[in-house]
């Protein structure tokens, strides 16, 4: 039973990456751990000496940390929203993608939220938000929504791993101590399957509004101040769109790495990159609409404070960041993703990397220029991040990759049972389609059935 030759095709392909570890993996893990340790030292240094070791000061009291926070929480929308929406719309091609996306979510929410804690400076006062709550403060809502989101995402990630844990429990006896409890006694009966699918569907429905509310509340932390160019009524949906945009880009990059690293070319096909590329194209256009609406309305409103912030981005000191963002997020993705010939794996990965750079810069050019141009110009400061901030940012990215790699050593990065379920679905469809045909022709028409076009609506 436990000899590899008895395993199913999916198990043969997807279990080895969990148990077999290459030398490259270890090298990468050691390198990343070193970065994380260095970041921990930087944090210790900051705790010892206070926030003065950062580049922040009055009036620029938010810098890299909050930029990272917004960026990471945005990327987290990859998992929940994409996987939940693809599940709810029954897009069959989602099957090899969902797990990889959901892990991104859980990993980056925790990392994103910890950036706020680092930004506090006085971590010992962290729980004051809860013990001395202010219901009108968006910061409190942030705590509510992000903890709800983290809890929900962990559950939403965990539920679909149950059948896979059961498979691993049966296939890897030496790890039974781990997968036994995690699989909750899964035996794959019809009743269990029905309950599980129902639970996943309910979680998917719940996660969509939670994810939208999280990034809306994050945006309102800015918009509820009356700072120029933060106080925009569009910020909620604008942030949500940006979040989904960077989230899809993150999935594509992660998928490309998994595909090469774990040799899963058979599962993550060019088709998946093509479809995700199309979604990314739609998001490019939506993002453009929102960005355009934001800036054209500022121009139309023509209030002097806001124009000052806008001009500091368009032509002033922030112009290099702003225009890099525009180039990374608009023309290049539009060309790569819009022309079918370029929408290959390499093409979508290049576009995605650029989009992630662009979206980080977008968060940066939202946070810093407004703070540098307050309504009452009392100070004249320029923000440059210190080595502490840069180290912690590097540490966050390293930690994210490390957590991701670690997860891939615990669970198959592609859901085994969902792929098998998809195959069963294909068989059922083939039988149904055959039953429409006249009896005599059946033999000729037993070629592989054509899967239905993805119905996203």
């Amino acid at each position: 039973m436990n000899r590899r030759e008895d395993w199913t095709y999916e198990e043969k392909a997807l279990i080895p990456p969990v148990v077999d570890t290459s030398r490259l993996f270890w090298f990468t893990a050691v390198g990343l751990s070193a970065i994380v340790l260095w970041a921990l030292y930087a944090w210790y240094y900051q705790l010892q000496r206070g926030l003065g070791v950062t580049g922040m000061g009055r009036p620029i009291y938010w810098g890299f940390y909050i930029t990272n926070f917004v960026f990471f929480i945005g990327v987290s929308h990859a998992g929940t929203l994409i996987s939940a929406i693809l599940r709810l719309t029954r897009a069959e091609w989602r099957r090899p993608i969902t797990r990889a996306a959901e892990i991104i979510t859980v990993a980056v929410i925790a990392i994103g939220a910890s950036n706020v804690i680092i930004d506090l400076g006085r971590e010992d006062r962290l729980l004051n938000v809860i013990f001395k709550p202010h219901l009108t403060s968006p910061l409190l809502w942030d705590v509510f929504s992000i903890t709800t989101y983290l809890t929900g995402s962990v559950l939403y990630l965990y539920l679909p791993t149950i059948p896979d844990s059961a498979i691993l429990r049966d296939r890897l006896p030496h790890r039974r101590w781990l997968y036994g409890p995690l699989s909750l006694g899964w035996t794959g009966t019809e009743r269990q399957k029905k309950l599980l699918n129902r639970a996943i569907a309910i979680m998917a429905v719940i996660m969509v509004p939670i994810a939208v509310s999280v990034h809306t509340v994050v945006s309102w932390v800015f918009a509820m101040t009356i700072q120029p160019m933060w106080h925009s009524s569009i910020f909620g949906p604008y942030f949500v769109v940006g979040a989904i945009y960077s989230g899809i880009a993150a999935i594509i990059v992660a998928m490309a790495i998994i595909r090469k690293g774990c040799h899963l070319e058979a599962f993550l096909k060019p088709l998946h990159f093509d479809y995700l590329g199309r979604l990314l194209l739609v998001m490019t256009l939506l993002w453009t609409y929102f960005t355009f609406a934001e800036y054209i309305t500022t121009y139309y409103g023509n209030s002097p404070d806001e124009i000052k912030v806008m001009m500091s981005k368009l032509t002033g000191p922030f112009a290099p960041y702003f225009w890099t963002m525009v180039i990374c997020c608009l023309p290049i993705p539009l060309i790569i993703l819009g022309v079918r010939r370029f929408r290959t794996i390499t093409g979508t990965v290049i576009a995605s990397l650029l989009i992630n750079v662009g979206m980080w810069l977008e968060r940066f050019t939202i946070v810093i220029p407004t703070l540098s141009n307050p309504r009452i110009p009392r100070y004249n400061v320029h923000y440059t991040p210190s080595w502490v901030e840069v180290s912690l940012m590097a540490g966050c990215f390293a930690l994210f990759i490390l957590v991701y790699m670690g997860f891939a050593k615990l669970f198959p990065i592609i859901s085994i049972w969902e792929i098998e379920e998809g195959k069963e679905g294909v068989q059922e469809t083939a039988e149904r389609l055959e039953s429409y045909l006249p009896e005599g022709e059946r033999d000729e028409a037993t070629g592989p059935p054509v899967p239905a076009a993805a119905s996203v609506a």
Partner: protein, 383 residues
């Protein structure tokens, strides 16, 4: 049958004629401001229903959705309302000096208006309006017209072609609808501005399109003219109505909450106007009627497949789109809530005309896109 429908047409025309007399009387008795405000409400309503349907058609092609193919003829037919309404839009250009402070000479003395004069000036406004109208005709040609041809030719290449045009139509839709929102509604009070306003009107427009599509679908469904369409298709329509009711609530809340909390004089006055005096009651009715009622009415699974429930909720949503427009437009022209014979006259004038236009539209082509290669697959859609 034909004499019966003749009577219906005649009585609708008669009602409309009565409305016309009332509307004309409004102009002379109540003054041009009230006349044009009413005109604007019905004009934007017509645009919302027509463009909403056009958007549904383009969206279906864009995402290559299959379940909705058997229902597509309804939004295709009703999207022609966007073309019917264009004379109203062009005629409304006459109202610029009446309703819009920036188009009047005294606008030149208000600094907040002068700052916006690059956008808000009469020649540019007319150019934008004419461009929008022209683009609607282009969009209709691109994504609807050839679908009717397909009924006869059964040419699958037409589907490929329509799908290819969809992104362009969606871009036209986004640009023109945002322009309508800012030009025709927001600039009634030129000092005020809200980045999200285009999205706000989009939420109402898509809902109106969905409601009209649902009503048209049920009309055919109840007469057995959509063979093969099942409760599963209705469920999806109900789901969409539900989802975008929530979306409207989200956008409306985002706009209100941020401005109320920020309390900046140049923006909060707009809400203050709309939440004091009689307008507060209307604002509350709008919030409850546009969000809570359809939300609760559609939340259960059973509700989304009940034709009866779907019909009244769709009518309700359309009615509240009108309330929404009234609440957006009327406070700009008068301090008090005024609902009287002029408003009734305009309803009598435009509702029957709209129904006649919808009736004529609903007779176009086959009831389902019989030439679409995905029709069979769409009919087989099951939840």
């Amino acid at each position: 049958m034909s004499s019966g429908s003749g009577t219906t047409i005649r009585s609708l025309l008669l009602l409309s004629a009565v409305g016309f007399v009332g509307a004309a009387a409004t102009y002379f008795v109540e003054g041009p401001a009230r006349f044009w405000a009413n005109w604007l409400v019905w004009m934007v309503f017509g645009i919302a229903v027509g463009l909403g349907c056009l958007f549904i058609v383009a969206l279906e092609h864009q995402v290559q959705s299959v379940w909705s193919v058997p229902l597509r003829r309804v939004p295709e037919r009703l999207s022609s309302l966007a073309l019917w309404v264009t004379p109203l839009v062009l005629a409304a250009l006459l109202c610029l000096p009446v309703l819009y402070p920036w188009a009047r000479p005294e606008g030149a003395s208000v600094p907040a208006i002068v700052l916006k004069s690059a956008w808000l000036n009469t020649p540019f406004f007319i150019i934008r309006t004419v461009a929008c109208v022209a683009l609607w005709f282009v969009a209709y040609r691109l994504v609807v017209k050839r679908s009717f041809e397909q009924d006869r030719s059964r040419d699958p290449m037409i589907t490929v072609c329509l799908r290819r045009h969809a992104p362009l139509v969606l871009a036209i839709f986004a640009l023109t609808l945002t322009t309508v929102a800012f030009d025709w509604i927001s600039s009634l009070e030129p000092v005020w501005y809200s980045d999200i306003f285009g999205v706000y009107l989009f939420a109402g427009t898509f809902l109106s399109g969905l409601a009209a599509t649902t009503l048209g679908t049920l009309y055919l469904y109840n007469r057995g003219r959509l063979p093969g369409v099942t409760e599963d298709h209705l469920y999806n329509l109900g789901g969409f109505l539900f989802a975008f009711t929530v979306f409207w609530g989200y956008i409306a809340f985002a706009q209100y909450m941020l401005m109320w909390y920020g309390d900046m004089p140049e923006e909060v006055f707009w809400f203050k106007q709309r939440t004091t005096g009689g307008w507060l009651a209307l604002a509350l009715i709008l919030g409850i009627g546009h969000f809570f009622v359809p939300f609760l009415a559609l939340v259960s699974r059973k509700a989304k497949i009940s034709p009866k429930r779907l019909r009244w909720v769709s009518l309700w949503i359309l009615a509240f789109m009108l309330v929404d427009l009234y609440w957006l437009i009327f406070p700009a022209v008068g301090a008090k809530v005024r609902l009287g014979w002029p408003e009734l006259s305009f309803a009598l004038l435009f509702l029957p005309l709209g129904l006649l236009a919808a009736r004529a539209a609903m007779a176009k082509g086959e009831d389902t896109p019989v030439g679409d290669p995905f029709l069979q697959e769409g009919l087989e859609f099951r939840l």
